[in-house]
């Protein structure tokens, strides 16, 4: 029997217990987590208020309800059941999942199942605690998104970013860096040292020193070589940072490809330089032309005073020849400086190119192969065909000379390109929508960049003194510029050179009206058939009928038929068909007075000299001759008195 005191104590104890129970209940009920007790039959035996609120039910209503009833059979079977089974095997199971409750909607939760043994050692229940982690999950995803965004940004940025250890070992490089360095293996780059990309590795050490001292440095343009060994130019800035521990320095570099920029800059500098030289040379040439006119004039006057065939008159004749040679050089300088008037007509590029190729092939060394791909015949440009012929001859001759020792392949290609493409390449305004591009490629000895930058300067030559004037490429440059075209070069030592010639396509389909008057007959003896074709192309529609002479007999016949004499004879003295000595004999035997235009090379034989001094020569021109010069010579020779 308990006495009253005991009862009172029991009562008090009960009261304490019940208070403690109430407190615990209250703590559990107001926890932010949903807490429930689940038995082995997947039935809820208890749940706190947070759980009940989430499911819009009262604590009494949850008791006896199954999990599949509360969460739906599908969710239960697919996600919950396996974790509960695992927990009943004795493990505490923790996982994250997003699910929906009627009270809170869809949110992210962290779920923990803890095994619970009430009286025996056997696990009879488990405690499920579901904690709302929506906020932290959202933040985590946001950070992930940001990281992804940054990664994409870094990947897509056309600027190279590379992170190195202080000794230059690459830790990380973005895609742009790999692209700039022409490297396709992102893994292998991590084993590389940034220093190895420097053309002058010592410079890298200096850069590192500067960085360690100043923390952030614009290092400027650096010559580098990419993974393929090509020389490139990069603009580099560096920043110093430290690793997580704050002690180990890390070097970050921003690398921009400045190769194109450098190329454009160099082109601009080169163009300015050539313009300056051109203006200077043009000015000098102008003065020299005055002086030459005086010299040639007085020597002509002297000639009149002297008995013909005398020693002195021969000497004066030499003065006149010297004047002509000087004139030829000045004309070339004027062509380079674009101060030489060009007479332009619509010419088929393919025709001139094919003609030049035929000409070149006839004299090419056997160790050089010529490959050509010339298709479009109908592409026309505005040009003096004789000048265009010169451009092609100069480029092909140079290519052949570059391959003289070891042999090789000269390839000539022709294609159409959009003006926009050229504009992008040279960063300059262009004049036509369409350009015809000719590529002359050789596999010869190539050129160093220092030489490459000067090849268009007049009198610049790498050949020995006396071998070539150093005017070929200068003249080529002048002719192309005058046609509003462009010439670009790329070259590599021991690999060869490529010349790209762009000429604006003439879309003016209007045909030049053919000459209607009485046509004058000109007898033409050319050095070779290519030159004669060039000239006939040039003199088309000008009122002259060109009559070609194919041999000595033919020439004799044409000048002996007094009923049908030509108005003029144009004779290139290097012709294999009629030699200068034969020409003079035949001409003198025929006893005719037809004016002659003689075209010689820079230097000439005694026979040629005799011919020039014979008095039958009306005009003497020195190769190379332009269409303008030939027309002038024709006009000056055929004096109209009617």
């Amino acid at each position: 029997m308990k006495d009253k005191k005991d009862l009172l104590r029991d009562d008090k104890q009960h009261k304490v217990l019940s208070d403690e129970h109430e407190i615990s209940e209250s703590i559990i009920n107001h926890s932010r987590s949903m807490i429930s007790v689940i038995n082995r039959n997947y039935i809820y035996e208890k749940a706190n208020l947070t759980f009940c609120n989430a499911h819009n039910i009262t604590p009494d209503q949850i008791v006896g309800r199954s999990l599949s009833d509360i969460w739906g059979t599908l969710t239960f079977c697919e996600f919950i059941k396996k974790n509960i089974d695992l927990c009943f095997s004795g493990e505490t199971v923790k996982y994250e999942a997003s699910f929906e409750t009627p009270g809170y909607g869809r949110r992210y939760f962290e779920v923990t199942f803890r095994p619970l043994s009430v009286s025996s050692k056997e696990i009879t229940h488990l405690i499920a605690e579901t904690f709302d982690i929506e906020e932290s999950k959202r933040r985590e995803l946001e950070i992930k998104d940001k990281e992804e965004e940054l990664r994409t940004f870094e990947t897509k940025l056309p600027i190279g970013i590379v992170r190195c250890s202080p000794d230059g070992q690459i830790i990380h490089a973005n895609k742009a860096f790999l692209d700039i360095m022409d490297c396709y293996n992102a893994y292998s780059i991590r084993k590389t040292n940034l220093k190895s990309f420097y053309l002058q590795p010592d410079l890298f050490d200096i850069h590192c020193e500067q960085l360690l001292e100043k923390h952030s440095v614009t290092l400027g343009r650096v010559s580098m070589k990419d993974c393929e060994g090509n020389e490139i130019s990069c603009r580099i800035s560096g920043y110093l940072s430290f690793d997580e521990t704050g002690t180990l320095p890390i070097l970050d570099f921003v690398v921009e490809d400045a190769t194109r920029e450098l190329m454009l800059e160099n082109r601009l500098i080169q163009a300015h330089k050539l313009e300056t030289i051109g203006a200077l040379a043009g000015g000098i040439a102008h003065d020299f032309n005055n002086i030459l006119t005086t010299i040639s004039g007085y020597s002509e006057l002297l000639m009149e005073d002297l008995p013909p065939d005398s020693d002195t008159s021969e000497k004066v004749g030499r003065i006149q020849s010297a004047v002509l040679r000087a004139k030829s050089i000045i004309n070339q300088i004027l062509t380079f400086s674009r101060q030489f008037e060009q007479e332009k007509i619509a010419v088929s590029v393919a025709e001139v190119l094919k003609e030049t190729l035929d000409f070149i092939k006839s004299s090419i060394p056997s160790n050089i192969e010529v490959q050509s791909n010339i298709l479009q015949n109908d592409i026309k440009v505005l040009a003096d065909p004789t000048q265009l012929f010169r451009v092609f001859i100069n480029l092909m001759t140079n290519a052949i000379q570059a391959m003289e020792e070891k042999g090789g392949i000269l390839s000539v290609k022709m294609e159409l390109v959009e003006g926009k493409l050229l504009q992008h390449q040279i960063n300059k305004n262009i004049v036509a929508d369409e350009y015809v591009l000719m590529i002359f490629k050789d596999t010869g000895k190539g050129m160093e960049p220092a030489i490459l930058g000067r090849i268009f300067e007049p009198f610049f030559t790498t050949r020995e003194v006396g071998q070539g004037t150093g005017l070929g490429l200068a003249v080529t440059y002048g002719i192309i510029s005058e046609m509003e075209g462009e010439i670009l070069v790329s070259s590599k030592r021991d690999e060869g050179s490529e010349f790209y010639v762009y000429l604006p396509v003439s879309r003016n389909d209007k045909q030049i009206e053919s000459f209607k008057g009485i046509r004058k007959k000109i007898l033409f003896i050319a050095g070779n058939k290519h030159e004669s074709r060039m000239l006939s192309m040039a003199l088309e529609n000008t009122g002259y009928d060109l009559l070609y002479i194919s041999d000595r007999q033919g020439f004799a016949r044409s000048v002996s038929n007094t009923g049908d004499l030509p108005e003029l004879i144009i004779y290139m003295t290097d012709s294999k068909l009629v030699k200068p000595e034969d020409f003079l004999i035949i001409f003198q035997q025929a006893k005719i007075y037809t004016p002659c235009v003689i075209i010689t090379n820079q230097s000439y034989s005694i026979f040629e000299e005799k011919l020039l001094n014979s008095g039958i020569v009306k005009q003497h021109l020195i190769k190379p001759v332009s269409l303008k010069e030939i027309r002038n010579a024709i006009q000056l020779s055929i004096i109209k008195l009617d």
């Binding site: 043009g282 102008h286 030459l292 006119t293 004039g297 004047v323 674009r338 004096i639 008195l641």
Partner: protein
């Protein structure tokens, strides 16, 4: 004998042309530049003008235009040694402005004389 005016700033060249023309019995007048030529030009006593194009003071192209105004029937030969003004160059411009013939330097003096004779013969025919 016909009277020829030579306008050329290069003294030696002018002298050479003058000597050659006097030898062929022409009466020669000289001017060092366009301005001097225009101030002394007398239409009635000049038959033909040989003018340089690039000169100090008044340049040759202006001289040609003004001479054409002063004497429409005047024969003009332009001579030039390069330089470029517009498409076709100075000589083509000179032709467009009314020069009867053009010669580019260096030219043969005999060619110049033949041109002069040709132009003056034409005038006589007319």
């Amino acid at each position: 004998m016909p009277r020829v005016l030579i306008i050329e700033d290069d003294m030696e060249l002018r002298e050479m042309i003058k000597t050659s023309l006097i030898r062929r019995k022409y009466t020669v007048l000289e001017a060092e530049n366009g301005k001097e030529a225009l101030s002394h030009f007398k239409p009635s006593t000049t038959d033909l003008v040989v003018t340089d194009l690039i000169m100090p003071e008044e340049d040759g192209l202006k001289v040609i235009m003004k001479l054409r105004e002063l004497k429409p029937a005047l024969k003009i030969i332009a001579i030039s040694g390069g330089g470029k003004a517009g498409p076709g160059g100075y000589l083509n411009l000179a032709k467009a402005l009314g020069a009867n013939a053009v010669l580019s330097k260096p030219f043969s003096i005999n060619d110049l004389i033949l041109k002069i004779e040709e132009l003056l013969a034409l005038e006589q025919q007319n």
